[in-house]
């Protein structure tokens, strides 16, 4: 679409673009080269700094750390989906004593920074006698925050279903609960599936915050491996490896979102267009 920004280039513009392209390529290569040179000059490519990858014990530790990240992700994702669904329904309720507290809770959980919530559950909650431990402090915080965002996403999805759908369902004699369950939610979830998956990517990225309260996930493992003196404290190699792991996991999930979006677009049925503001708000966050 952005192609409309520029005219179809003529011979002079093409030559100019080639020059720009060449300059840009040189610039990029120089940048990468400089970073590579710094890595090389400070000995990041020496074999001792990478040897830790060959040890079976350390490999197993790395896999355990990956498992810790993924288990926090899976548990928190499932809980957040349930939380989001329940609070979306509560916020759409006609009973004010359900709607108002649900609104307050969702807004509150979205407003406070996730780190503050995690610190609260981990450091402050034990003072009141509620000891959650590392795993549950992280998972509960992730659930509350992402669940609240998902509640808004579900709600926007339900609101965006064309009104005729609801009216037709009522005309057929369905009750309110049946209308929500059988007519509105399935369509809302379908319309919002890409947004829901991108919010799950955010959740996956946020599990890394567990590092701050010493949950033994991937970053914690990177810090540990990066401090091993016998491998020359390979903090840069470990950071690179862990970064690659995160990027792989997240792009796999994101491409699922892209796939779902394309599929729902291809199916030809007119889907309600979700609220742009909500979509971007959900994609962001941490």
């Amino acid at each position: 679409m952005t192609s409309a920004l520029y005219d179809v280039p003529g011979p002079r513009a093409r030559a100019r673009n080639r020059v720009f392209g060449l300059l840009a390529t040189v610039g990029i290569v120089a940048l990468i080269g400089f970073v590579g040179y710094r890595f090389w000059a400070t000995g990041q490519f020496e074999s001792t700094k990478w040897e830790w990858l060959l040890y079976k014990d350390l490999q197993l530790q790395l896999i355990a750390a990956l498992g810790a990240t993924l288990s926090a992700f899976v548990v928190a994702a499932l809980l957040a989906l349930v939380f989001g669904l329940l609070f979306a329904i509560a916020r759409l309720s006609q009973r004010w004593w359900l709607r108002t507290p649900a609104f307050a809770i969702v807004e509150f959980c979205r407003a406070i920074p996730l780190v503050v919530m995690i610190f609260f559950l981990f450091y402050a909650a034990p003072q009141t006698g509620l000891t959650l431990g590392v795993f549950w402090s992280l998972v509960v915080s992730l659930t509350l925050y992402n669940g609240s965002v998902l509640a808004e996403v579900f709600r926007a999805g339900v609101v965006s279903v064309p009104r005729g759908q609801r009216e037709a369902a009522y005309a057929l004699g369905l009750r309110k609960g049946q209308v929500t369950r059988a007519v509105l939610l399935p369509q809302a979830v379908r319309a919002m599936l890409p947004t829901i998956v991108s919010q799950l990517v955010v959740l996956l990225k946020d599990t890394a915050l567990g590092f701050l309260i010493t949950y033994q996930e991937l970053l914690y493992e990177a810090r540990y491996l990066g401090g091993l003196a016998e491998f020359g404290r390979p903090i840069i190699p470990t950071a690179l490896v862990i970064g690659a792991v995160y990027i792989t996991l997240c792009t796999a999930l994101s491409s699922l979102a892209g796939h779902l979006e394309r599929r729902s677009r291809r199916s030809g049925r007119a889907l309600p267009t979700p609220d742009v503001r909500l979509v971007t708000a959900a994609e962001l966050a941490t």
Binding site: M1, T2, A4, L5, Y6, D7, P9, N17, F20, G21, A24, T25, I28, R38, F39, A41, T42, Q44, A111, I112, P113, L114, V115, V116, F119, F120, Y123, A124, Q127, T128, V201, K205, D206, T207, A208, L209, F211, L212, L219, A222, R223, G226, I235, I236, A239, I242, G243, Y246, I247, C250, T251, S254, V276, R277, T280, A281, L284, A285, T286
Partner: protein, 216 residues
């Protein structure tokens, strides 16, 4: 409750001042870098497009904590220019947020109808005229709401710096627990503080939206 706030006002004041400073500096950095990246992504030069896309893909799929981790622990090993940790925290936040700013700006340009470009070109506008008098005024309207939420999450993300011991608002908690003060109340005040910081952002967004809401 007020007592705790007053007794530890040194902590709260330095904490929130650093949060605001981090937010403002990283925000400016992210806006500038993000707009540059967006310009790269819509430019007709493939190499620049590739750089823009690559940057956005890498930073959108990396946890911010990992970016901080890199700047906190790995950056000093590269023996580049030695900068304070506060500067590195600003860099980490700005580089991470720039990827999201880039996406917002790019999708803002994309929301402008192709017919608008074509019409302005048919009227004989130059590229600069098209951009400044037709595209940007329209794009900016759809950019404001998502940009506010980007800045909003940037504000919340500054707390991650606490985990890497920059003295900002998130750092108040551990400091309070060292002083043996009741954390529950401390946390309450931190939440209130963030609430107060978010309000001006939301108010600005509402005002701009109201002023610029024009039926297309």
């Amino acid at each position: 409750m007020i007592g705790l706030l007053l007794d530890n006002r040194d902590l709260f004041i330095t904490g929130f001042l650093h949060t605001i400073l981090l937010f403002v500096l990283a925000g400016i950095g992210a806006l500038v870098l993000g707009t540059l990246l967006a310009a790269m992504r819509v430019s007709p030069v493939p190499a620049l497009q590739l750089l823009g896309t690559g940057y956005v893909t890498v930073f959108r799929n990396t946890p911010l904590t990992l970016v901080f981790f890199f700047f906190a622990f790995a950056y000093p090993r590269l023996e580049l220019i030695d900068v304070s940790f506060f500067t590195r925290a600003v860099l980490a936040l700005a580089m991470y947020t720039a990827a999201f700013v880039c996406e917002v700006v790019r999708s803002g340009i994309n929301t402008v109808d192709v017919g608008q470009f074509e019409a302005s070109r048919a009227l004989g506008f130059t590229f600069t005229q098209t951009l400044t008098t037709v595209v940007v005024p329209q794009a900016i309207r759809s950019v404001v709401p998502p940009m506010t939420s980007v800045l909003n999450s940037l504000l919340k993300n500054t707390t991650i710096a606490a985990g890497f011991s920059v003295l900002e608002a998130g750092q108040i908690t551990p400091a309070l627990s060292e002083r043996g003060a009741p954390l529950l109340i401390g946390m309450f005040w931190i939440a209130v503080g963030f609430g107060i910081l978010v309000v001006p952002l939301t108010v600005t967004q509402r005002a701009l939206e109201k002023r610029w809401s024009v039926a297309r």
